[in-house]
């Protein structure tokens, strides 16, 4: 009896297998997108610079690759050789960023933009492994945007001054 029950259960499972697969692959395709909005602090804009449209609204769009002379001279792009503003910024609505596929995203979701090239890191970041998280280990976690640690125009993490070394035994009175 018992054995029969098991066999029937197995048969049902096998019969349902395609369905189970479908559910999983659905879940997987959803997994490509970030499932929820991550809790992140506001993007680290220089004070007063956002929204970009406050100036750009009044300016014609010049898509020519050139050296900037009137504004943003502090930015030397040391990220992606041959890269250019409009690889990430959106020429027509400056308050948005633009993915390679043309999709517009807001600055507080800029991780999608980074993820276009840094997919492996993005995967780890989503899982909470790459980058800093604070809050609850069993509850709500505060994430950081990639740009909080990596200035997008020159991304490597900047060196820090270390805090003092421990006292040597000889220094202890």
């Amino acid at each position: 009896m018992n054995i029969y029950g098991k066999k029937i259960g197995l048969a049902i499972l096998i019969a349902l297998f395609p369905l189970v697969c479908a559910v999983f692959s659905f879940a997987e395709s959803k997994g490509q997108e970030v499932p929820k909005k991550f809790l992140v602090p506001p993007p680290p804009f220089s004070p007063g610079i956002f929204p970009c449209s406050q100036c750009h609204k009044y300016m014609p769009v010049n898509k020519k690759q050139r050296k900037l002379e009137q504004m943003h001279q502090d930015i030397t792009l040391k990220h992606m050789p041959g890269g250019w503003c409009f690889d990430c910024h959106n020429p027509d609505d400056r308050d948005k960023l633009r993915l390679a596929n043309g999709k517009l995203i807001s600055f507080d979701e800029s991780y999608y933009l980074c993820a276009q090239c840094h997919g492996v890191v993005f995967r780890d970041w989503k899982a909470g492994l790459h980058g800093k998280r604070t809050g609850m280990w069993n509850g709500e976690k505060q994430y950081r945007l990639c740009v909080h640690c990596h200035w997008p125009h020159d991304p490597p993490f900047k060196p820090l001054q270390p805090l003092p070394p421990p006292a040597r035994p000889a220094d202890i009175k």
């Binding site: 998280r133 060196p159 820090l160 270390p162 805090l163």
Partner: protein, 308 residues
């Protein structure tokens, strides 16, 4: 000079008086009777923490809170949160990320009320030269002090209590003042520790610290949110160490060193939860544990998230 030792009970006994008392076979002789108020005897007969029921714990905690309030002139809360069921804490540290900035060392001191003078720190950051035989602890440097970190050609490895599943320190303690809690944290009862330092000799990671002097920390810098088995102020002559910030983590928060680390090298979570960060690290990265061959079975996992 007579050697006077002050103990957690605040009783000063010089050796001669003690021996006299002992010779008479009468502990009472050695104990100054004018100090013999109720609180003194309560402290003297305090039970082992694990043998106390909730009521008894509450009483002990009330007594200690009063003592601390007198000493530091401010209210200090001592919690006694129990381990959460189904939780076994694990820690991860990404060596490919750590830059050796020592922010964690000092965040831990602030959170856990370590003595500033004499200096007590629970985390030691070791610097290694990159190379073939890299994890040679003898070759490590803990006093490095360059202008900026990281230095090229080096990497850094912070070491603190590894919260072993099979902790040698616990077996070494003659008074059972230290033990492993069900959530995996190895704790010390500072009122039970006699200061023999056997545990320090037994720890293969050098993670335990001894209060050689009266721990000094200005009252305004005392973190008043404490746990009996964690960061409550300690006494001269007792051993202490990292507790995975028991006062924070048993309330669901990340440890202090996790939250301060500027590069996010430190990961923390429940080893029994397949969705946790620490499980993700163990399942997806190359992890190792320090001195694995000693069979201490630490719950502290080092890993390299990125080959660099």
């Amino acid at each position: 000079m007579s050697k006077i030792r002050s103990n957690p009970l605040g009783v000063k006994l010089d050796r001669r008086t003690f021996l006299k008392g002992a010779a008479l076979g009468l502990a009472g002789t050695a104990l100054p009777l004018n100090k013999a108020d109720a609180s003194f005897w309560e402290a003297f007969f305090q039970k082992h923490f694990r043998e106390m029921n909730d009521d008894e714990k509450k009483k002990v905690i009330q007594r200690l809170e009063k003592e601390y309030e007198q000493k530091y002139k401010k209210a200090i809360h001592i919690g006694s949160e129990k381990p959460m069921p189904g939780v076994l804490f694990g820690y991860g540290l990404d060596l490919s990320r750590c830059i050796g900035c020592r922010r964690c060392v000092y965040a831990c001191v602030e959170e856990n009320n370590q003595s500033i003078d004499p200096q007590v720190q629970w985390i030691t950051v070791l610097r290694f030269k990159k190379g073939e035989k890299w994890i040679d602890l003898e070759e490590s440097e803990k006093y490095y002090n360059p202008e900026q970190v990281p230095e090229s050609g080096h990497f850094y490895m912070p070491v603190q209590c590894q919260q072993c599943e099979n902790p040698p320190c616990v077996r070494a303690c003659p008074t059972q003042a230290t033990w492993k809690e069900p959530d995996g944290i190895v704790v010390v009862d500072y009122n039970w520790c006699i200061g023999c330092r056997y545990c320090m000799a037994a720890c293969p990671y050098g993670a335990r610290r001894f209060n050689w002097g009266e721990p000094k920390r200005p009252a305004e810098k005392i973190n008043p949110n404490t746990h009996y088995l964690g960061n409550r102020p300690r006494y001269k002559g007792v051993v202490e160490k990292c507790t995975f910030c028991v006062q924070r983590t048993r309330n669901g928060r990340y440890p202090a060193c996790v939250e301060i680390c500027p590069v996010g090298a430190r990961k923390f979570g429940n080893l029994l939860d397949p969705q946790s960060e620490i499980r993700y690290a163990i399942e997806h990265k190359r992890v190792f544990r320090l001195k694995e061959d000693l069979n201490t079975n630490p719950k502290f996992y080092y890993f390299f998230a990125y080959g660099r």
